[in-house]
């Protein structure tokens, strides 16, 4: 009876109300990776799951309208270059690749531990974007004809 894409109204509304909270929690996990369990890998997957939640609830057309897919692909590809750039700056400043060149800060502070925080953020972006793009490609893959729409 439900002609429009995606799931029922209940799922849509709950997704609508809760998606910002999931994304915020993913950012929390990423940004506290050097203080608490978690880090770039776990937080990235949480963000990817939040986006996937919207994809499953609303269908792929809505998601393509909401997110700029080209931008996400560019983020995904450029994050690894950012990682390399951090490493090369370390080489220029400290003499070795991926040298921890930023000030260490105080222990248990948010902005501490030098390059660990930026690298965590880069890995988080990388993991989130790549996993979401894989699922988006799988969703766009038409299973009946074995061909992409």
């Amino acid at each position: 009876m439900n002609k429009e894409p995606g799931m029922t109204l209940i799922v849509k509304t709950v997704t609508r109300i809760s998606v910002w909270l999931i994304i915020l929690y993913g950012f929390y996990i990423i940004f506290h990776g050097h203080l608490t369990p978690g880090g770039g890998f776990g937080g990235g997957v949480i963000i990817a799951l939040a986006l996937l939640n919207v994809l499953l609830a609303y269908g792929k057309d809505f998601t393509r309208k909401w997110l700029n897919i080209k931008l996400l692909e560019n983020f995904e590809s450029s994050s690894i270059t950012l990682f390399l750039i951090v490493g090369i700056i370390g080489m220029a400043v400290g003499g070795s690749f991926l040298f921890n060149f930023i000030d260490k800060g105080t222990l248990f502070n948010m902005l501490s531990s030098g390059t660990i925080l930026p690298l965590n953020i880069i890995i988080g972006i990388k993991v989130a974007m790549s996993l979401f793009l894989v699922v988006l490609a799988l969703a766009a893959y038409n299973f009946d004809k074995g061909d992409e729409q």
Partner: protein, 183 residues
């Protein structure tokens, strides 16, 4: 209760679930059984004092299940007929693997006892990690400071795998579209 008994229990559940995953005919049930194995791994990480890994394993398990279900559940794959030599192959494989198990027993006897690891490199990381990197989470300190080069390689592998997946899913279909448009 000592941790070893918990681990033995979880591992037995995991072995049973993995055998079930391989032997069940229905594909959805077998994917869910794999989920049981993954959650067992996550739980054992929690018992083994690795909360970092437990979080990551749990989340990645969910994601792997979503990918597998999305890809395979609609497929009509359950009609593969059993051949006669299938049973023979299974028996031979089990015998060979049992021999492998027996032959590798001496190796396991030479390993350090469970609960008393060799801590040669790690002692250095544990005692100097917080001062040298400024990170409270020593696992993050090792991943992104001491062994950041490893992580770079790992990110490269992930990048390559994802690019490969996307191109496998996309490029062929473009060729097909061109063929159909030419026709």
């Amino acid at each position: 209760m000592p941790i070893e008994i918990w681990l033995i229990f979880i591992l037995c559940v995991m072995i049973i679930a993995s055998i079930a995953a391989l032997e069940i005919k229905d594909i959805l049930s077998s994917i869910i059984a794999i989920g049981v194995v993954g959650l067992g791994v996550s739980l054992s990480f929690l018992f083994l004092q690795a909360p970092d890994l437990a979080v990551v394993q749990f989340l990645f398990e969910i994601f792997a299940l979503i990918i597998l279900v999305r890809a395979f559940v609609k497929k009509e794959f359950h009609q593969h007929e059993e051949t006669k030599n299938n049973l023979l192959i299974s028996i031979v494989t089990i015998v060979v693997l049992g021999l492998l198990f027996l032959l590798s027993l001496p190796v396991f006897q030479n390993l350090p006892v469970f609960g008393q690891p060799l801590m040669t490199v790690s002692e250095y990381y544990l005692f100097h990690g917080a001062l040298q990197t400024g990170a409270a989470n020593l696992v993050a300190a090792i991943i992104l400071d001491y062994r950041a080069y490893d992580t770079l390689g790992e990110v490269t592998v992930l990048f390559t795998a994802i690019i490969g997946t996307l191109s496998i899913l996309k490029i062929r279909s473009k060729e097909k579209n061109r063929e159909t448009s030419n026709e």
